[in-house]
Amino acid sequence: MNVAIRAGQSETQAIIEIDGEVDMYTFGDLQNIAFAEIDRPRAKILLDFSHVEYLDSSGVGCVIRILQRAKLHNTRIAACGLNGTPLKVLQLSHVLSLLATYETRVAATTLFLAS
């Protein structure tokens, strides 16, 4: 298991690319990076799940905490590339409606980051 996160650099926006499995053992990595980006602060942050193949309830909780912290800083959060189990688990947890979601990174870049 591994989760690799790369924070894109710009004045007001960040793209966090998540790679691997976000589970009870790894979610802290995502949370720490996302919190740091929110605290800068950033106006918009895109969570790219295109390369995430596994997400459990710890990952869901992590997404919720990111949304809660983002709200405090008026940071807008969106997600792209959700598919398979991560998408299903977020649906089952009734969390998907809290997130602006885009099928692809291109769509998110055009419709979320560039808007």
């Binding site: 009870m24 997400l55 710890s58 869901v60 905490r65 809660q68 189990t85 299903k88 688990v89 409606s97």
Partner: protein
């Protein structure tokens, strides 16, 4: 009308009938939860796996038993009965004192779902995490929320509340 699912306690529920089920038990090793689930599902019919969704859901139940039930005490066992014929069915029992705040969790979930149904996302976010007296900062009750949806044939707690029976049916069956 908003319908909110609930966790149910029923010692006599047929989901606790372990006759014909396979049995394994494991020490409460938090670092091996996903390994335990993978071992149990080693011979699982492919259609039941739904990618790795079944493994994920089984891992959550085992995690709850190890973390909240046995509190990570390696001397305490997690016991799993399973049957993967025609559907995915499990009974998972820990050696803890049971989920005594089950009704409180049901109340939390009802409020959370009401906020969601009303598109009241501000309230929903404030209710997004369930915190019991033994919860840590990483607990949110999300595993139970997803489980109530996923286990479409039922999710029942025993009277002592340290044992849960679940079943998921699949529209195509396994062919077994």
């Amino acid at each position: 009308m908003l319908v909110v699912r609930k966790l149910i306690v029923d010692d006599l529920n047929p989901l606790f009938d372990a006759q014909g089920m396979k049995y394994v038990e494991y020490p409460s090793d938090f670092s091996r939860i996903r390994q335990y689930a993978a071992e149990i599902l080693a011979t699982c019919p492919e259609p039941f796996r739904e990618g790795n969704l079944l493994e994920q859901q089984l891992s959550e139940i085992i995690k709850n038993g190890i973390k909240h039930g046995n509190k990570g005490d390696s001397a305490k066992k997690i016991k799993v009965w399973y049957d993967l014929r025609k559907r995915a069915r499990f009974i998972v029992e820990d050696e803890g004192s049971g989920f005594q705040r089950l009704e409180e969790w049901n109340d939390f979930f009802a409020k959370r779902q009401t906020a969601l149904a009303n598109n009241d996302f501000e309230t929903f976010l404030t209710l997004a995490n369930y915190r019991g007296p033994d919860s840590d900062d990483n607990d949110g009750g999300n595993s139970l929320i997803a489980a109530l949806e996923y286990w479409n044939g039922g999710m029942i707690f025993s009277g002592k509340r340290n044992k849960v029976g679940v079943v998921r049916w699949f529209s195509g069956g396994s062919g077994i």
